[in-house]
């Protein structure tokens, strides 16, 4: 089980968990009609480096005099958290008409996932005070969200922040996953 912080800070922080975050798949305009397709993720975790988020906050909102906008971000990296039971059964994206690979919970693949030995996934169990069932971060499904949207969204949708040590673990495993080297199978 991880340790969490429930104190809500003004700025977006690494390891923050928010509910109902929207990802814009596309926005097109055709013959005077705008069509926007969004995916609403029940829970996401913030993965952007905390120092970057802090510097962006300073430039953008803290009203401190800065010589330029060098530290301003365009977006924040987040990754979805899926209900672990849905993920094991491969049905976590069924509402998007996607069927995913099953992971046998009681055999090696499931056990490896739960022990965080599968690079793609990060398993999290929350204390009882947090209304989230055991969940899995899927690093492959990371996406970015506009900074200002997320800052406003945080006000009513902040759930908790992953405790410092556990947050570093998530961050380190995410960067390792992204920097993996894909070798040909043969």
């Amino acid at each position: 089980m991880i340790k969490i912080k429930t104190r809500k800070e003004a700025r977006i922080s690494q390891g923050d968990i928010y509910k109902d975050v929207e990802f814009i798949e596309y926005a097109i305009e055709r013959e005077g009609v705008v069509e926007i397709s969004k995916i609403v993720f029940p829970f996401v975790v913030v993965l952007t480096q905390d120092c970057d988020l802090n510097q962006d906050y300073t430039v953008r909102w803290a009203k401190k005099d800065t010589p330029n906008h060098d530290k301003k971000l365009f977006s924040v990296i987040v990754a979805p958290l899926y209900n672990s039971e849905h993920l094991y059964s491969g049905e976590h994206l069924s509402e998007l008409s996607m069927s995913m690979a099953e992971i046998n919970k009681v055999r090696t693949p499931g056990k490896n996932l739960k022990q965080n030995q599968t690079p793609r996934y990060h398993y999290l169990e929350f204390p009882d005070s947090v209304p989230i069932v055991p969940s899995v971060i899927d690093f492959k499904h990371y996406f970015t969200v506009n900074v200002e949207y997320l800052k406003k969204h945080k006000r009513d949708n902040f759930i908790c922040q992953i405790g410092t040590l556990y947050r570093e673990d998530v961050s380190q495993r995410f960067s390792s996953f992204l920097s993996r080297i894909g070798l040909p199978e043969r």
């Binding site: 305009e29 993720f41 029940p42 849905h86 998007l96």
Partner: protein, 63 residues
């Protein structure tokens, strides 16, 4: 005063709560079934809500 020994078979039969339970004696009614179906639906819809879902918005541009 109860003459049965607490360790006797008779005592067990006469004092076991399950056989006297009013819940067990009550047969289910159509109303119970309706209620149970409603709860099941609620649980299933909550279950679906915890999965990512798509939202499509269409709007006409007025100049």
């Amino acid at each position: 005063m109860n003459k049965e020994s607490p360790f006797s078979v008779e005592y067990d039969i006469n004092n076991t709560t399950d056989s006297k339970s009013s819940i067990q004696q009550k047969s289910s009614t159509p109303k119970d079934k309706e209620e149970s179906d409603r709860i099941k639906e609620e649980i299933e819809s909550d279950y679906q809500l915890s999965k990512p879902r798509r939202k499509l918005i269409r709007a006409r541009i007025i100049l």
